[in-house]
Amino acid sequence: MRPETESELAEAVRGARGPLVVRGGGTRSLGMPAGEVLETGGMSGITLYEPGALTLVARAGTPLAEVEATLAAEGQRLAFEPPDLRGLLGRAGESTLGGVVAANASGPRRVQVGACRDFLLGVRFVDGGGQVIKNGGRVMKNVTGYDLVKLLAGSHGTLGVLTEVSLKVLPASAAEATVVLDGLDDAAAVDAMARALGSPFEVTGAAHWPGQGTFLRVEGLAAQVDYRAAQLQAMLGGRTVAQGPWADIRDVAAFRGQPGDVWRLSVKPSDAPGLVARAGALGCLYDWAGGLVWLLMAPDADLRAQLGAFHGHATLVRGHGAPVFQPEPAPVAALTAGLRARFDPRGVFNAGLMA
């Protein structure tokens, strides 16, 4: 099914006789829920863009590329830097804005500016009963009623099908530079990244790519970038390059075409090196100063079993040997299940995912 409008979509959900698989462009969806595919790509188009108010509203099926091109024409961007995981996951197709939001997809700049959910101002969505619901709006400060916007961001289509999203956008930086630290082991790299982020030099990317280096990005006006890079180098050593490998870090290019499962580990940064040592991984990439670790594991190796109890969570992004999402403690799982039961009482959306 590929509805063209919100009301057609609502109609389709109401009429569903069995489970539905909610799909934007299918470029970053996780797990393998069974059912009839419900595509949002038919609901496309930017409905409002006010560069002077830093606001963009678009239908959920709008291609991400179209959004990024429209913003670029005004010197603006999606500051949370959504990753392109097509290479990593072996997918074709075109990412949609709704898919980015449903996955709360956020790249290296998350450490400085926040995640996709932090830029999401409003949503319209269709719940499991086929009811259209709106929440939030298109203004930057809004505490009117409960924040269902955050609930929907990263819900992977399990609470409702997004039909329209409003986002805060930001001006693109006039300049950027990357300080590269060579030859650090994982622990030293995480320590250096912590020192960089604990400095006032507004680091907008902090990643450690074993074998390639430890990368610290600064952005801003040209004068700011020069100053900040020089200060970071004075503090940590290393060298400054104009352009770091940020797209490759964002998209986890290191694991592209490599056999094995891919896991995403979200932890307290200083815990990361110890956990990586326990994981027995084939490869790893630290982003978010160590708060996000991508791990390449032997097929069907269960990372969670390998790590034992730890503070944080692991998501199986590519592979089949374990549940996709980290099992939650019973009382938290009960809240999640309760929300799902009320937003999708018939259990039609992405059955089995996030459950």
Binding site: E50, P51, G52, A53, L54, E74, G75, N104, G114, A115, D118, Q131, I133, K134, N135, G137, R138, V139, M140, K141, N142, V143, T144, G145, Y146, D147, L148, K150, L151, A153, G154, S155, L159, P171, S173, A174, A194, L197, G198, S199, P200, L221, A223, Y227, K268, S270, L292, H311, G312, H313, Q326, E328, P329, P331, V332, L335, T336, G338, R342, M354
Partner: protein, 477 residues
């Protein structure tokens, strides 16, 4: 402003309920004497008052859990309270409710600089969170005007903002995790010292739920390194529209100030008389602040002043010293106090798209003349969060009602132009009955479902946020 009739059965059982609370708490943590309860009869929305059934002041998460378990079993409503600084009546009790105050829970539990977080008990005041880390060069970013007094618990409940959220975001963007006690006493950790949710983002909906989903007893907060320096520039314009256009051009230009504050003439005059900040007398004043090293500040302000000059400012003045910068901010920060010296006022909090600023200010002016009550405007212009202050005389019969009706019209205008009823103060009881202006019944139904999950008996702060008619069936249960 209506409140539901108190539950007569709860009132009749007061002695037994208080005895059960005393059984689970230290002796000094339960208050039930009428004269002592008066301290809890209102928050900063002091026009509305009602003494609670009792008040409890637990010191630990375990004590909070024990209190809630008792109240859950007894069917007693609970109104959580931080420092009682809510401008929306978020902590106003009902006669059948137990006030659960977290003020005694103010400890710092953990400070972690390498991972840039602090874990505190939720009764700790906003400013003292920064106080715990500032000697080491860090701060907690959200800075509501009441930050000296307001508690983190209330900040989380209302998703509080502040003057600097243009750059740093509001509470929800700086909150990593909470320990939440549910109404039945269940204790859960949601989130933690990591940067995203492992499943559905429950933390996102807990923040800003106005104490209706659970009682937050502990929180992991993101702390940030202090900038090297900051400097404000003052800009005066001869029309609100021009100031509005200038704001839009600044945020479009690629330099992101930490704050852009706006004041109109009535507000400028009052602030100047009160704080002697050296403000020029003009129609509209902007305070734009940027951060960084001295050279970085110069670079940013050069760009900003260029933009301002294109709008023919009547004044354009960069703070030349720390002292001057302080005075510029003192004027703005004392705006509410300054207005309070000359008048009673009601402070509104709607947000509008920045592009609608000139239109909305013009309409407010017209409406003010029509209803005969003056308005002073002071607000966070960069993010469109308005704070019109409607001036009235509390001693004049009918003035408060006129003022409230005018306020409601302004908020409807905010929604009409694509904005919302409240940007940072919350709904509470104050804007509860206006929710239908912004939301269709099904939108409210979707929000109430969330409360059904967290608090099936609707005992936590039940008569807030949702119009009483909309929540009636649920509260009756």
């Amino acid at each position: 402003m209506d409140m539901p009739a108190p539950n007569a059965s709860v009132l009749a059982r007061k002695a037994g309920i208080v005895a059960r609370l005393r059984a689970v708490l230290p002796a000094d943590a339960v208050i039930d004497a009428d004269e002592s309860l008066r301290a809890y009869e209102c928050d900063a929305l002091s026009a509305y008052r009602c003494a609670p059934l009792a008040a409890v002041l637990p010191r630990t998460t375990a004590e909070v859990s024990a209190v809630l378990k008792v109240c859950h079993e007894e069917g007693v409503p609970v109104v959580p309270r931080g420092s009682g600084t809510s401008l929306a009546g978020g902590a106003m009790p009902s006669a059948d409710a137990v006030i659960l105050g977290v003020a005694r829970m103010n400890a710092v539990l953990e400070v972690d600089y390498p991972n840039r977080f602090i874990r505190v008990q939720s009764g700790r005041t906003n400013l003292s969170v920064t106080g715990a880390v500032e000697t080491d060069g860090f701060f907690y970013a959200p800075d509501p005007s009441s930050q000296l007094a307001c508690a983190i618990a209330g900040n989380i409940a209302m998703n509080s903002g502040g003057a600097h959220c243009l750059k740093y975001g509001v509470t929800t963007n700086n909150l990593l995790g909470v320990t939440l006690v549910q109404m039945d006493g269940t204790v859960v950790d949601v989130g933690g010292p990591f940067m995203d949710a492992g499943g559905i983002d429950l933390l996102g909906v807990i923040c800003g739920s106005e104490g209706q989903l659970g009682v937050v007893t502990e929180a992991w907060l993101r702390i940030l390194p202090k900038p090297e320096g900051a400097r404000p520039v003052l800009m005066g314009f001869d029309a609100n529209e021009v100031a509005g256009a200038c704001v839009s051009d600044i945020i479009k230009a690629g330099v992101l100030p930490v704050a852009i504050e706006f004041m109109d003439r009535p507000c400028i005059e009052a602030c100047e008389a009160f704080a002697k900040a050296g403000y020029p007398m003009c129609e509209a004043l902007l305070i734009v602040e940027v951060e960084g090293s001295p050279a970085e500040i110069d670079a940013q302000l050069a760009l900003i002043k260029d933009i301002a000059r294109r709008h023919n400012p009547v004044e354009l003045r960069e703070a030349q010293s720390e002292d001057e910068a302080k005075r510029i901010w003192l004027g703005r920060k004392s705006a509410f106090g300054a207005m309070g010296q000359i008048n009673d006022y009601m402070c509104l909090d709607g947000t509008i798209p920045v592009s609608a600023l000139p239109h909305v200010l013009r309409r407010i002016g017209e409406m003010s003349r029509e209803c005969g009550l003056d308005v002073a405007n002071v607000f966070h212009a960069g993010d469109g969060n308005m704070h019109p202050l409607i001036l009235y005389d509390a001693n004049k019969p009918g003035d408060l009602e006129r003022c409230e009706a005018f306020g409601a019209e302004i908020l409807k205008l905010c929604v009409e132009v694509g904005g919302c009823l409240t940007g940072e103060h919350g709904v509470g009881i104050e804007k509860r009955d206006l929710m239908t202006v912004q939301f269709a019944p099904e939108d409210l139904e979707a929000q109430m479902r969330v409360k059904d999950v967290f608090d099936p008996k609707w005992l936590l702060n039940p008569a807030k946020v949702f119009p009483l008619a909309a929540s009636a069936g649920r509260r009756a249960g």
